[in-house]
Each structure stands twice: as structure tokens, then as C-alpha cells.
């Protein structure tokens, strides 16, 4: 946003009038029309746009749900059933919202692993990356509090277990938990404040997303080669090249979401949440939503309650330090033969932790979770710092255009989309 000279020239009198008072059309134009993107972006780069659309879907369906929902311990469960049975298309709104939350996490995890693989967290994109970690934390808080709102058995016991995590804080833990509950146990005051915050946090996410995009548009997009745009030939303008690619990818993504909403609406949920909250009975097997399972496995892997909670929060916080833990000067995993292997090991570790989070915490499962928890932290604290020293990277191409078109790219012409590179501006 800030570093590009706007190429937008208002034509109509009305646009000229507005632009001289609030140059907003020019801002949108330079950010989402003329904005130059590397010509080699693959489909992994379309998830940012998908995430933005998902946030809008969650906010719109959420506002509609809030018009029919009653945030009271005695009425919340019935009001969600009322949404499902009586409100016109209420079932659609709720299933979109509930499955939308799951797909939100699926998309954000793909988005994060994309960043890990291509080294998008490295200088000069550290702030961009840290803003992303903040968005992840806000999403987790939002989804957790949303899950409490239907006030089913899983809602109630998720609220109990998660709020009790804070009781392990030395000295003040019990007081903190009482203040979170607004009572001596999870109850109506808890439900009320969670509803208030569940409404607020998505708008805070929206604000941080704006900062995230701003921080993106200063250095520009990373790309599969990891090397920056050097000339016009390396870039294409956002519109129409990215707009069509993002839209195409989004349509495919939303077809899958629609398939879940219409044919498997409860597949990702838990049947026990259709049983009203009962403070005197815990369901035999409580598990969080799938997107929290790896963290849950880490929590349970550590026998000491305080250390378990610390490890769980550290597993996310450590992401914020990644730009400084990875010592390699090569950005993209494409040119890092050893990192590539460790990357896929790390993916397997995360999936393994997710699997263990869903299993009962006994016997061999606990030992396996301890091994994978160690592997998770070792990736950040041992592997990444050392790889930069011991790994011999493959030679980098001279430019993005060369990586796409081969060595003769320098001669120009062939294969360059007409009018694309010429319109785009390099930094």
C-alpha cells in the first residue's frame, strides 16, 4: 500500500471529487488491481483470499444466528434447536457457521504450512508472520467461545476443562478462574460473557487482517523460489491474474464446504453436543474439535498440570520466534534438500499429535504423545537452528522469470503474458 505509486487516475467528476478528499479508490486500485505479484505463485497462495471470504461468511452467518439465539443457560440449547427447526433456513445458517469454523481452520493450517515450506516468515516478513500468529490465537479463542454457545454437553465440559487450565497459575490461579466464570463454576454468567466476546473477537480479527495485508503489501508476496521480484518480467498485476486464480480456487473450496454443509453437516462435530449441558455428568470420552487436537495431545502428554499448560501455549507461541530460529539464508524449501525432509516429518508429527489427541490418554498413546511432543519442539529448537549451518542449499535461479521460462528468459518476449509485466511495477 504505502510504497507503490498509485497508477489510478480518476476519470469521472464524482471520482475526482472523492479522490481529492479521501483517496480510497486509489488505495484499493494500488492494493488489489495494479499491485504486482510474482508470476510464479501457485495455488497455495490462494488461501489468503479464501480465508478473507470465510471470515466474512462467519460474520454474516453469525450476526444472523445472534438474532435468533438466546444467551442464557436455561434457554441457549433450546434456542439453537429453535434455529434448527423453526427459523426459515436457520439450519443452513447454523451448519454454514459450524462447518465454516472447521473450514476456517483447515484453510489457515494450509496457509501456515505454505509459509513454513516457502520460508515466508523470514526477513523482511517477520511482522507479517507475527500478525498471522496473533490472528491464529484470536481465531482459537473465538472458535472455543462459539463452541460453548449451544450449551450442549461438549460445550459445557469444553468450557470447564479450558477455563480450569488457568487454575494452574501459581497463587492467583483460583481467583483468575472464578473471575473468568463469574461464579464458582461454569454457569450462566460464563455463557453471557462468552457470547459477548464471541461477537467481539471476529471484528478484532478483521482489524488484525487489515494490518496483516498492510504488512504484506510493503515487501510484497513471497513466491515458490523465495527470491524477490527484480524486474517487470518477474511480476504480473493482481487484476486479472490473481483475482481469477483466487476466485477459481475459492469456488472449488466452497464446493467442498457446501458438500459438508448439505451432506455431512454433523460429521466434524460431536454427537454429545446434542445432549443439553449437565454439570453432574461428564461424557465418557471428551475430545475437543479436530482443529484443537494436536494442542490437546501436547497438554496431556506432560504429566505435570502446570508444565502441560505451559507446553500447550508454547507450542503456538514458538511460531512467533520462528523468523529467528531458522538460521538458513535461503528462503524457499524448494532449494533446501534437508529442510524439505524435515518439513514433511514435521507435518507428520502434527498429524500424529492430532490423532493422539483424539485417543484416550492411557498406556502407549501417552508415550507416543510424549515422543511427538518432543519432536514438535525439537523441530523449532534443534533442527531449524542447526540446518542453516549444516545444509548445502541448491543453486538459486537468477530471477523468478528465469525459474518459470528457463535461461532464455533474459531475451524477453516469449511466454510473457501480453501487457502483464509491462503494466506491473517492481519495487
Amino acid at each position: 500500500m504505502s510504497t507503490h505509486t498509485p497508477t489510478y487516475v480518476p476519470k469521472s467528476a464524482a471520482a475526482k471529487w472523492l479522490e481529492s478528499r479521501l483517496p480510497i479508490i486509489g488505495l484499493v486500485h494500488s492494493s488489489f488491481v495494479a499491485y504486482p505479484v510474482p508470476r510464479n505463485l501457485n495455488y497455495m497462495w490462494t488461501f489468503g483470499a479464501i480465508l478473507t471470504m470465510l471470515l466474512v461468511i462467519q460474520i454474516v452467518t453469525g450476526i444472523v444466528l445472534a438474532m435468533h439465539y438466546t444467551p442464557h443457560a436455561d434457554m441457549a440449547f433450546a434456542s439453537v434447536e429453535h434455529i434448527m427447526r423453526d427459523v426459515n433456513y436457520g439450519w443452513l445458517m447454523r451448519y454454514l457457521h459450524a462447518n465454516g469454523a472447521s473450514f476456517f481452520f483447515a484453510a489457515v493450517y494450509i496457509h501456515i504450512f505454505r509459509g513454513l515450506y516457502y520460508g515466508s516468515y523470514k526477513a523482511p516478513r517477520e511482522v507479517l508472520w507475527i500478525l498471522g500468529v496473533i490472528i491464529l490465537l484470536l481465531m482459537m479463542a473465538t472458535a472455543f467461545m462459539g463452541y460453548v454457545l449451544p450449551w450442549g454437553q461438549m460445550s459445557f465440559w469444553a468450557a470447564t476443562v479450558i477455563t480450569n487450565l488457568f487454575s494452574v497459575i501459581p497463587v492467583v490461579g483460583e481467583t483468575v478462574v472464578t473471575f473468568l466464570w463469574g461464579g464458582y463454576s461454569v454457569g450462566n454468567p460464563t455463557l453471557n460473557r462468552f457470547f459477548s466476546l464471541h461477537y467481539l473477537l471476529p471484528f478484532m480479527i478483521f482489524g488484525v487482517v487489515m494490518l496483516h495485508v498492510w504488512a504484506l503489501h510493503v515487501p510484497g508476496n513471497n513466491n515458490p523460489t523465495g527470491i524477490p521480484i527484480k524486474s517487470d518480467k518477474d511480476a504480473v498485476p493482481f487484476h486479472p491474474y490473481m483475482t481469477v486464480k483466487d476466485s477459481f480456487s475459492a469456488v472449488l473450496f466452497f464446493i467442498v464446504l457446501a458438500w459438508f454443509v448439505f451432506y455431512l453437516p454433523n460429521y466434524l462435530g460431536h454427537a454429545d453436543n446434542y445432549v443439553p449441558a449437565n454439570p453432574s455428568v461428564t461424557p465418557a470420552h471428551i475430545v475437543p474439535e479436530w482443529y484443537f487436537l494436536p494442542y490437546y495431545a501436547i497438554l496431556r502428554a506432560i504429566p505435570n498440570a502446570l508444565l502441560g499448560v505451559i507446553a500447550m501455549f508454547a507450542s503456538i507461541a514458538i511460531l512467533a520466534f520462528l523468523p529467528w530460529l531458522d538460521t538458513s539464508r535461503v528462503r524457499s524449501g524448494v532449494y533446501r534438500p534437508m529442510y524439505k525432509v524435515f518439513f514433511w516429518v514435521f507435518v507428520a508429527v502434527c498429524i500424529g499429535l492430532g490423532y493422539l489427541g483424539a485417543m484416550p490418554a492411557e498406556g502407549g498413546y501417552v508415550v507416543a504423545a510424549q515422543i511427538l511432543t518432543f519432536a514438535y519442539f525439537a523441530h523449532f529448537l534443534i533442527v531449524l537452528p542447526l540446518l542453516g549451518i549444516f545444509e548445502t542449499p541448491k543453486p538459486l535461479p537468477n530471477s523468478i522469470a528465469e525459474s518459470v521460462l528457463g535461461k532464455d528468459a533474459g531475451k524477453g518476449g516469449a511466454g510473457t503474458p501480453a501487457g502483464a509485466a509491462s503494466k506491473a511495477q517492481a519495487e
Binding site: T160, S280, T282, A305, E362
Partner: protein, 178 residues
């Protein structure tokens, strides 16, 4: 450096600046407290936490009865002679949270175990008569409690606590006083 020139003497603007800042800081501080305090249990919740009375006579030997006090689950267990013996036949030092069974019940009322019913790990409700010691077993993360409600294995750090209570009659207790 220690010597300042007369031109740097405090002016009326400096005074206003410091005075305004001080009053503002006190104001913000004073306002912050109500915003924190409103999170605490409100007067109605506190009032609902008054002591509750329970008649023990209908509870037969071997039975567990559950009730709520201050929104918290409480187990009342009428223990059999075997269960009491099992709870006392243990080397205290071997327990994660050493506490004698005698200290967890009222003397002469050894058959009555009255404890909080939420697991001291993360608050789930343990299942009655389950686990290796036939006390309770927590389904959430596998804590095992004995017939005195003491933690024997698993992540729960401490025993299920004993709430304040007193015997007002031979078979009648008041929970919340004592």
C-alpha cells in the same frame, strides 16, 4: 550538567502538564477497578452460595448421592466397612498427596465421605466405583481416586477436597458451614 539554566525553570505549562497527567492516571486507575471487579461472582451468585442442608438417613450403605453447593458438585458417599478399611490400609508416604483418611472425615462418622465432585485436574466429573481402587475414575485424562477421594494415579495434582460441613444432627449435615 547538574546545573540547569534559569530558562529551564518550571513553567505554568509544566505544572499543568504534570497535574493533568497525574489526575488522568489516577482516574484511569480508579476506572480500571470496576471493569475488573464486574467479572467477579455477582451478589445474586454469592447469595445463592448460602449453606445447604442434607438428610443422610435415606442414603443406604454403598450408595453415592450428588448435590450442588455454590454450583459445585458434591459427592456424599455412605462407605461400607470394606471401603473404609481399604482407604486406611495404605502407606501415606506412597500417596501423591499424602493425607490420612481419618483427616478427611468426621471422627465417629467414618462411613460418611463428603467431597467435591470435580476432578482436581481440569474439572471433569469422575465416574463412581471405577478405577483400580473402586473409588472414582476420571474419564477425561485418566485420574484414579480411592475410596477416600485421594488421587492415586493420573494427572490430578491433589485429592478431591473436602468442603466445609458440620453434622447438626446424627444423620443431618449442613454444607457450607464448619
Amino acid at each position: 550538567m547538574a546545573e540547569t539554566t534559569t530558562t529551564a525553570e518550571p513553567t505554568r505549562r509544566d505544572f499543568l502538564f504534570i497535574a493533568t497527567g497525574a489526575v488522568g492516571a489516577i482516574g484511569v486507575g480508579a476506572l480500571a477497578w470496576p471493569f475488573v471487579s464486574q467479572m467477579a461472582p455477582d451478589a445474586a451468585t454469592v447469595a445463592a452460595g448460602a449453606p445447604v442442608e442434607l438428610d443422610l438417613s435415606p442414603i443406604v450403605e454403598g450408595q453415592i448421592v450428588k448435590l450442588f453447593w455454590r454450583g459445585k458438585l458434591i459427592f456424599v458417599r455412605h462407605r461400607t466397612a470394606d471401603e473404609i478399611a481399604a482407604a486406611r490400609d495404605v502407606t501415606l508416604a506412597s500417596l501423591p498427596d499424602p493425607e490420612a483418611d481419618e483427616d478427611r472425615v468426621v471422627a465417629g462418622k467414618d462411613e460418611w465421605l463428603i467431597i467435591y465432585g470435580n476432578c482436581t485436574h481440569l474439572g471433569c466429573v469422575p465416574l463412581d466405583f471405577q478405577g483400580a481402587y473402586r473409588g472414582w475414575f476420571c474419564p477425561c485424562h485418566g485420574s484414579v481416586f480411592d475410596t477416600s477421594g485421594r488421587i492415586r494415579s493420573g494427572p490430578a495434582p491433589i485429592n478431591l477436597p473436602v468442603p466445609p460441613y458440620t453434622f447438626v444432627e446424627d444423620t443431618r449435615i449442613v454444607i457450607g458451614e464448619g
